[in-house]
Symmetry: D2
Subunit: 348 residues, 4 copies
């Protein structure tokens, strides 16, 4: 009953096999190996972007911080939601990598609207030396609350940023889950909608630790390479990043894994509706569910070894039937039986 | 005939097996997995340092830059040799991670002497607000030229730094090769000699990408953890770093691999002595050789597919018999037959 | 009719005279001159803090950014209001000087309450490596909207920060105006209420460009000195900063100037009440007024050469009687006749 | 007998008078005052550079660090001599302002030669992601040892930098002394010789604290303005910087003061030749002398209250006739009688 995070799950067999296959003989280091050429080709094809710059790093925070730093200047402000991973969960990595840029918050939830974005940008005057200058916008797809921007929503947001001459970055730590949910091609969800750079996350969806960063404008390439190197994120034995990504891309493994994870979450969400006192915070869209369960139910589940993140508390004191919010994440490896067992136990 | 770098070689079978074994079921993320507890225990035992703080990162540059940043302040200067990796090969990573510290160069080669170190420290006055302040000393063991500090040499250098109240860091990207060469226990080469923090490199010696950073003074622990996180070097699926390190530590695999690599380089060095016109720059000590070969010999070897780094040139023009310096590195996987073939070809 | 800012006014005669007097012969540089000893003594006496560390810098932003950087770590978050100068008007100086700390916003106005502060601090968990860590709190006294924290209010806020083990900084760019308004001794408004460091602003209140930064805990002294030097804010001919501050402190010139400025603003505020369609946004407390006047009135005033900052607009289009917010600041040099002339014109 | 530094001397009467004149009524802040327009015009005329961007800051370190940061990227290396003020006397300000660039040292003294510069640049490969990238070159005119680059020497150095596509900055803290020594127009010594940006120092030559930073390429302007603001070096009451510079420029006061200071140093140098046991380290070129005097002579002079910087020591122990190097600086205000008195005393 493991719903703590999609980064608690194992790697896909295809990914491990690609790693093992890559572990033969000598290979040029630092991304000069042939496998990386293949990765680049495949991702350009997948994104229908033959001139895109493609890089690999090992963590989602590295992808975010490096991409935002490449798209901004230290005297600018990045725009993101108050729940954005880059704001809440990276111990100031964006501030560090950008050399001291500010993060300005858009709206009050996990998804930004064009109006809220325009208001946030307008909150800082343009071209006044005293204030932070306008910098890139960062969207998370799927969001930190498990919701998905439709391609139209993305295009509307990018319309706002383009009106201000700003670049837009998509934090795609759960890109695959969003793409699977929307059933749309990666190009639709990104550059055709106006996205300038995206991270294509592998770690949470069946890799060991690899994220692709893709710039649709190759002008950013060399700066990104320098930033990656000086932040110690250029791997010498880079072939093991490439191999992971190749295993992940082969035969649409990335999409299959995301569909599986999403389907598992759907099963869990459906079951939760029948649990006494349970209520969904949002409708489920990808592989992550936010729901409220009575305190007593949480206690019973946790005692039985269920792993998930409680967002409200405390667990130990308070009315037994008070609903407390929790996050449940399904990765590709969670079994249906495990979900059913969990639901049974939740039902009491 | 692969002598380009020890980061061009494959991972040890034991390391890959540990990775595969670790890829089962769910595990807590971010270093909270049980495997990391085991890594910590083993490294504390290996270093005879039961209270040491132990961390894993994926690149040598991350280990160096994070350790030095933890031991310094932005207004200080780090002391290192002009050939130190932290100075020449990290695209200003130490300057970035420290928030703008300076690197002051000690001596003019790869190995520092106590005298040169004392002169470099004395080159900046103490407690004058105008100058950079004294910061940590960084030694590379084995050095970037393949030489080894004896434990006495290390102790003498640490004596100088201690006299100035400064911490000493050991860049141990090739720690195993040095330890194997000296045949001494890790504790001798580090804290007993006065070292405050060390990186215990795995990447170049048969891992995929993992380095342990060990602080013998646990006071530095929390700051290191924050720095690692905000520089995006804390892995979510950390178990794959732990697994590599466990495979590397089990049954002294790390020492065996280093002994093998050193022995291969010894065979190569011995053979090179018989090559007409060849000359060693330094006596071989670990798995890395610096030697001069006539231009014509280089040309013949490279045409035949030998891979190694030429440090002088150009290859294409100049007297055929002019000796040009090159670096030859043996990793654990280089075969004796490969070496012999290379030597035969070098002999003409 | 100059109400644009208190930094648009001239220096006090006493301050200029002190500058002229200081311009004789040679003097040690970088703060080693005898005048600085006198400054230190006087400020320690004024603040009843014999062990305080006292420094001078030339701009308010330098005072704020250096003090906050000294009190924080790069992985922390500073807490301030959304209208704080450090957030809105320093082009990311705090982010730059701290090495990439975050600013977290407290409440939604210019003055923070203990509840809002506690909520903001509680918004980030304690000791979780993923989130920004708790850092210093920054209060502006008087606030950017011309309001004053009473000593009790300051003590209540410092109680919250102390409960969390955090330091509190007071941005005192208009310290004198607040102290004059409260009629309380500097010690009451600062360390007795729990403030750890304060800027004692001179620039806006009759100096040319000087702010004292005072740390009540002398442990911060050396770090501040290093930060001041490496940010290029240590003046070689420091005597001219010292002289300004001495002229400012002599015979309570600083308090007199603030009282005058406050009184002028009071006269202006009183007069505005009689202006048709005018309304105060806040009750006047110091030398700064926020009021709304009809668009037509603004147009008439500006056409006549009145200088002040319009916060709402546009001026040119919209209903003639629509009230638009503006800021009016009186410095010590604004004449009563000027104010009366302005009011007459405003009345129509 | 004040020869400690040209920053220990007073401001010129013309500069003080301009300050006093500027202290009347209200004026726009942050450089929007009319006086700054006049400064800009005059400096453009003086430098025969009608499109140059012109800014004022209050310290030489601010001028240097801001200019170098504007001309570089964090992953680059600045080139300067080992005696450069930016390397030795700014507590890592260039590293801080650039966001972590490295300083690479050229030659082993205070003046660089084209050969040494080319060697230093060639010491780092071009376009290799692992090494620091080539950044701006920083020359000090006059040097930290009181020597002057001729216009031909500057042009030759700029030829090297231009061959590598790098910008050249001139640290002109003693620009006036150098220009007076060479008797050449500012344009000759700067952009006509290939200089991209220069600081035109006022502080050491009779101002209170003001340096102009001039970019001959106006493309750098806006970035400089943002960097100046976020480093807290944009003065609100900027008129007092402008006034100083205007007083300094009027009637060639800047050149007269420098000529006076140079002439005083010439008198001192000439006199020192007659002092028993004295020897010049360099021929005098501007207002700064490096000479060796016997230990006993130093002791006698210092006991009599002479102020200057001893570079070798210790003063208290060692042979009485051992020559110890010292620096003697004359500012415009040092009297001839004072010099003669000093020489008399030195003679014994």
């Amino acid at each position: 009953m493991q719903f703590a995070s999609d980064n608690a799950g194992p790697a896909l067999p295809q990914v491990m096999e690609a790693m093992i296959a890559a572990n033969a003989g000598h290979a040029p280091s630092y991304g000069a190996e042939a496998l990386m050429d293949e990765v680049r080709d495949r991702l350009r094809t997948l994104f229908e972007a033959p001139r895109a710059s493609v890089y690999l790093v090992a963590t989602g925070t590295a992808a975010n911080a490096l991409a935002l730093a490449t798209l901004s200047e230290p005297w600018q402000t990045v725009f993101c939601t108050p729940l954005a991973h880059v704001h809440t969960d990276e111990c100031n990595a964006p501030e560090f990598f950008t050399g001291g840029a500010k993060l300005s918050l858009v709206g009050d939830g996990d998804k930004m609207t064009p109006d809220a974005l325009a208001r946030a940008i307008g909150g800082w005057p343009s071209g006044d030396v005293h204030t932070p200058q306008h910098g890139p916008v960062s969207l998370t797809q799927a969001t930190e609350r498990g919701r998905v921007y439709t391609c139209d929503e993305i295009a509307a947001l990018c319309g706002v940023t383009r009106d201000h001459g700003l670049p837009t970055y998509m934090d795609g730590a759960r890109f695959a889950n969003a793409a699977a949910a929307l059933g749309c091609p990666p190009a639709e969800m990104t550059w055709r909608a106006g996205i300038d750079a995206v991270s294509f996350g592998g770690t949470k969806n069946g890799c060991l630790g690899v994220e692709a960063v893709i710039f649709f404008n190759p002008e950013n390439a060399w700066e990104f390479e320098l930033r990656r190197k000086r932040s110690a994120h250029l791997f010498s034995k880079h072939r093991y990043l490439s191999a992971q990504m190749l295993g992940y891309l082969a035969d649409d493994a990335w999409r299959d894994a995301a569909q599986t994870a999403n389907a598992r979450a759907a099963r869990l969400a459906e079951g939760l509706r029948a649990v006494p006192g349970a209520g969904m915070v949002h409708d489920r869209e990808v592989n992550m569910i936010f729901a409220r369960l009575p305190r007593a139910t949480h206690r019973r589940l946790m005692a039985a070894g269920a792993a998930y993140a409680l967002y409200e508390g405390p667990l130990d004191s308070g009315p037994e039937d008070e609903p407390l919010m929790a996050r449940f994440v399904c990765d590709w490896s969670v079994g249906e039986d495990e979900i059913d067992r969990f639901l049974e136990m939740a039902a009491g």
